[in-house]
Amino acid sequence: MGEGQKMSTSHLLKRADFIFKSDNDWEDVLKKNLNRTANELINELISSELKGRGGAGFPTGLKWKISSEIKADEKFVICNADEGEPGTFKDREILSRVPFKVLTAIAVCAYVIGAKKGFIYLRGEYFFLKDNLQSAIDEFERYCRKIGFDFSISIFMGSGAYICGEETALFESMEGKRGEPRNKPPFPSSSGYMNKPTVINNVETLAHTYTIFKYGSKRFYDLGVQFSRGTKLFSVSGDTPKPGIYELELGMSLVDFVEEFGDDDTKAVQVGGASGFLVPRKRFPETTIGFQGRLVGISLPTGGSMMLFNSSRSMYNVLDNYLNFFAEESCGQCTPCRVGCQQLLKGIKAVKRGEKNAAYLDKLLKLAETMTYTAKCGLGQSVANSFSSIVENFREEMIY
């Protein structure tokens, strides 16, 4: 940590080591928790206040509770490993280093809601993980049979579509269709894969439930801050001397983060990948990383992507890169997103080339805002996050 008088720090960065801690006791954790009642396990999760780590932050305990209370002939647990947000690579690391923690968590979830079948939806680009993961599953299933727990897990390979990380698009894809998001409600907890009650959790969320089931909810709850309990994995990349994955307590201030990971020339940090927010240097002090609900300052949620940019970077190029990404990955189902992404991209190019005047940027900001309200799913709704935060904070870079 730097000792200089850069900016005042509220509290220092707190590192943690739960997820990647290599403890080979998954068999005990599984057996111990399968002996508890479903209600006990749900209450354990609820009191930990764990929220989904994919980025949306839905309370995990509540998700399991809803599915457990619905009566159906068949239910499913799906581990969402369609990690596609640019700048995020924590799920890949979890699945390759501690797969048994995730498998155990999937099995406990299945026990809680009464499912016999689990899936891991693995991103197509992560084909290189498949063989090792499959052998882990084989070993895990052998153990389940040994202890008389009737449960199986299959890997479903994605075929290269960012939108399939959206849970209902993921179901469509697993059902052999184009990965186009469904209307919500109904929510997956009551009608998901094959229209059956489905709990779908991000890889990291499941890994945290393992921590909670192993150590108890209090240990988890005591970390982090109000509304943002526990730890989170952060994928740090961009202009940093130490890119990589770090497990940190939630609620840290961006000042502390940049002091630890920046290169002393950090101009902005993109929190949450292409669908997240760009925070310029002047906003570092008032920004913390965690779920919304703080009374003072800005609290930014993130799926874990933290990308640092130094002063040599053109924010126009960054935005151009994001918009190309969105224009490519928009599924094309709803007009606001399909047309909006392309128009935003065309628009900033026109301003840059001088074909449109600077005031045109305001029109584009309005378009982005419209997309937030009218797009069908999270992809289209979140384009405005990065677009508006970059254009508003680095307007001059968009023009000159």
């Binding site: 596609g84 995020t88 961009g238 990308m307």
Partner: protein
């Protein structure tokens, strides 16, 4: 084109793939992936899709819709070697555009990408150049995958050497980026 036409996937192979996955939910994607893998030039030709459609009684429009939706499916013949450049933001920041520009020196490549294509195959079907939105290896940016192996911190020199090696002869050991 003749060699490619002759290389089309045999209907008995398609029948075999279909029967292996029959009845499983979501079989369509898996079946299509395997048919593509079974083809010599790793793509779904029109005949194969039409045959699949009539065999499993799924409208051709749905099959085509799936094939065009996912980036994994190819509707054009692919080259013997694939080079995939990650265009994620971290890779972009660390210079992946320069790597793509190096590859664009292949005759016809620049024009293909400029016209909005997301993949380019050389006329001799030796090399296919593609981009991917993000490989999830951002800490190792920029990353490039050559024939399914992912390489990190790739430099412009490495790409130039790779192209040189590919041009001169085509032994697998020359495809490593080192």
């Amino acid at each position: 084109m003749n060699a490619i036409e002759e290389s089309r996937v045999n209907t008995t192979v398609i029948d075999e793939i279909i029967s292996r996955h029959k009845g499983k939910p979501g079989e369509l994607l898996t079946v299509m992936e395997e048919i593509q893998e079974a083809s010599e030039y790793k793509f779904l030709d029109d005949d194969a899709m039409e045959y699949l459609s009539s065999s499993i009684k799924v409208p051709l429009s749905q099959i085509y819709g799936v094939a065009t939706f996912y980036s994994f499916f190819n509707l054009k013949p692919q080259g013997k070697n694939s080079i995939i450049v990650c265009r994620g933001t971290a890779c972009h920041t660390k210079g992946s555009k320069i790597l793509l520009d190096d590859l664009s020196l292949l005759p016809g490549c620049k024009e293909a990408f400029d016209s909005g294509e997301s993949s380019f195959t050389t006329e001799d079907k030796l090399i296919t150049v593609k981009t991917v939105a993000c490989f999830g290896q951002c800490a190792l940016a920029p990353v490039v995958a050559v024939n399914g192996v992912i390489y990190s911190n790739v430099t412009s020199e490495q790409i130039k050497k790779l192209l040189q090696n590919l041009k001169e002869d085509n032994k697998d050991e020359n495809l490593r980026l080192s």
